[in-house]
């Protein structure tokens, strides 16, 4: 029994152990050899990725139903581990340039990834909370990693305070769910509802509060206010990881909890989700236009993308659409993560040692100075906008299709309109890069280049053969 328990969590456990070991090992690695730490971290992530892939096709529950292993978790975990690898690839050269190449960075990243992975597998609300804290705490530290720069410290502190605040709502929501159903297990909630022992209003209140707690993590409006400040202040490599990883984990938990535990609340929650999605798309895209700082702009863009994914989630209450909604959201997360790493990679490459070089005007002349980098950035901007031939487009089409088929025409219209709006600020970057004169200075090491090139290549290439990806995400079913 115990063996099976461990098997369900094997990659996470191994990654945790590896991170702890790395923390100690790093103490014996001199400062000028931190490449070793980065390499070991990547090795650990790769090992966990291998173990995760070995879990393909296996299902089961572990630790007395606290965690579950299903195709959905395997896919989300793989995505998280790949995100971790990309983040490590972006980080090393960047940290060295900013003179903050401390070894704890990698351990913290690994801890955070492990927490996120636990989140995707959580079959009990307590584990959801545990995992949330497990991946958030390292992120708070990472956000403040450029210590003693005030921006970064401020980002870390704000993120921590607001994170704690919203985690309070989450735990309160869990308590209410427990009060309503006498259980915290997702499966138990359903049973309680089915047998009629549950108090539905209390359950709805609990679900609403859980939505708040997780909505904070994925930066949904109106729980998004921390995002621009934190994304701007945190070291760019951290932001890249945070933007992708936290979003994947947050949405994974949202999907699992709502699809598995609260299908009965669909009617009540749908208007709320609808409003959240609409507000998020609207505000994220609109405010992004006003930004002149590229990090803030991308922060609002990330808020807007959370809105698009929420749009798919709105359809969760419809039993016919449920699986498609999950698939579409996963697909979009994949597309978003790839593009996200590329775009933040470009931002990191252009960031100066003193933390400057982040204004939009600093990108002027990039098209002439480093054509490849500018071309890559163009691909990412196009993908964010949803223009062919990029993965972003396919993802959006998929999302819109689900939304329309679920009957939320109005929401889809808002989505389309706001993505039209988004073209304005994304393409502005392209315009500035190619049509203005300037002397931008890009510095990257080989891994950094590789991450950007890989993201760009995948963003384009995968969009050409989306069928395989479709079948991949549509196979990612949620199981108890």
């Amino acid at each position: 029994m115990a063996q099976l328990d461990f098997y369900t969590l094997l990659p996470t456990v191994v990654l945790m152990a590896w991170a702890s070991g790395l923390l100690i090992a790093d103490l014996f690695i001199p400062r000028d050899r931190k490449a070793w730490t980065a390499g070991l971290a990547a090795l650990g992530l790769a090992l966990a990725l291998g173990l995760t892939l070995a879990q393909i096709g296996r299902t089961g529950t572990g630790f007395a139903g606290m965690v579950t292993l299903d195709p959905f978790a395997v896919l989300a975990n793989s995505l998280l581990l790949v995100s971790g690898l990309l983040a490590v690839g972006l980080s090393f050269g960047y940290l060295r340039r900013r003179d903050i190449d401390r070894g704890e960075y990698y351990s913290l990243t690994l801890f955070s990834v492990a927490g996120m992975m636990l989140m995707t597998q959580a079959a009990d609300l307590i584990v959801v909370f545990l995992a949330l804290e497990m991946f958030s705490l390292p992120l708070y530290v990472l956000a403040a990693f450029a210590r003693p720069q005030p921006d970064s410290e401020e980002a870390g502190l704000k993120y921590f305070l607001l994170g704690a605040f919203s985690a309070g709502f989450l735990i309160y929501g869990i308590a209410l769910v427990y009060g309503a159903t006498q259980t915290t297990a997702l499966a138990g909630v359903v049973t309680a509802v089915a047998t009629g022992t549950a108090s539905l209003p209390l359950l709805a209140a609990g679900a609403g509060l859980i939505l708040v707690g997780l909505g904070f993590k994925v930066a949904a409006v109106p729980f998004h206010m921390w995002t621009p400040d934190v994304y701007q202040g945190a070291p760019t490599s951290v932001t890249a990881f945070m933007a992708a990883g936290a979003k994947i984990a947050g949405f994974a938990a949202l999907m699992r909890v709502f699809v598995q535990a609260f299908p009965v609340l669909g009617e009540k929650l749908t208007p709320i989700l609808w409003t959240l999605a609409a507000l998020t798309m609207f505000l994220g895209n609109l405010v992004a236009i006003a930004q002149s700082n590229i990090k803030r702009m991308l922060a609002y863009s990330s808020i807007a993308h959370a809105g698009y994914i929420l749009m798919a989630l709105t359809a969760y209450a419809n039993p016919q659409m449920r699986q498609m909604a999950v698939s579409a959201a996963l697909f979009y997360l994949l597309a978003y993560a790839l593009t996200n790493f590329g775009a933040w990679g470009v931002v990191a490459a252009l960031e100066k040692q003193n933390g400057g070089g982040l204004e939009l005007n600093d990108y002027a002349g990039l098209g002439r100075k480093s054509p490849a980098l500018a071309a890559a950035m163009t691909i990412f901007m196009l993908s964010f906008t949803g223009v062919p031939p990029t993965l972003g487009l396919i993802g959006k089409i998929y999302l819109f299709r689900v939304t329309v088929e679920a009957g939320f025409i109005g929401l889809a219209v808002i989505g389309v309109l706001t993505s039209l709006v988004s073209a304005y600020y994304y393409l502005r970057v392209v315009v500035v890069m190619y049509m203005r004169e300037g002397e931008p200075e890009a510095s990257m090491d080989g891994w950094h280049k590789a991450v950007i090139a890989l993201s760009a290549a995948l963003t384009v290439l995968l969009s050409l053969a989306p069928a395989a990806l479709f079948s991949l995400v549509s196979g990612a079913t949620l199981l108890f």
């Binding site: 115990a2 702890s20 923390l23 100690i24 103490l27 014996f28």
Partner: protein
């Protein structure tokens, strides 16, 4: 059901009343002869200097945290050690893992030089 809530309510009230009463009684009964030494803040017998609203060195916290970890550790380890011969292998291994994790924390502190008071 209702009686249960009643009990809880009673406990709540009692819990609040008891300490309040203790404070009240001492306030009522105690003689009041103040002098500066009596009114000064008690801080382990050392005379206070300046205000209490000062910035602390972060080392205090780290030290306190390290202390707390090893202090709490014993709470977990004591029952484990007592029942060691009756425990299944799994629990034994879990205990060892727990100790190892704590040890890793200690090694980390030591290598980072946090154990040296500066």
């Amino acid at each position: 059901m209702q009686t249960e809530w009643l009990y809880i309510g009673l406990f709540l009230v009692l819990g609040m009343v008891m300490p309040a009463m203790a404070l009240m009684i001492s306030w009522l009964v105690a003689p009041k002869k103040p002098n500066p030494i009596k009114q000064s803040t008690y801080e382990c017998g050392v005379e206070t200097v300046g205000e209490a609203w000062v910035q602390f060195k972060a080392e205090y916290y780290i030290f306190a945290l390290a202390f707390l970890i090893f202090d709490v550790e014993t709470v977990f380890l004591f029952p484990w050690a007592l029942a060691l011969d009756k425990l299944p292998l799994f629990a034994v291994v879990e205990g060892i893992v727990f100790i190892l994790i704590l040890l890793a924390g200690l090694v980390y502190l030591w290598r980072k030089g946090e154990l040296e008071w500066a």
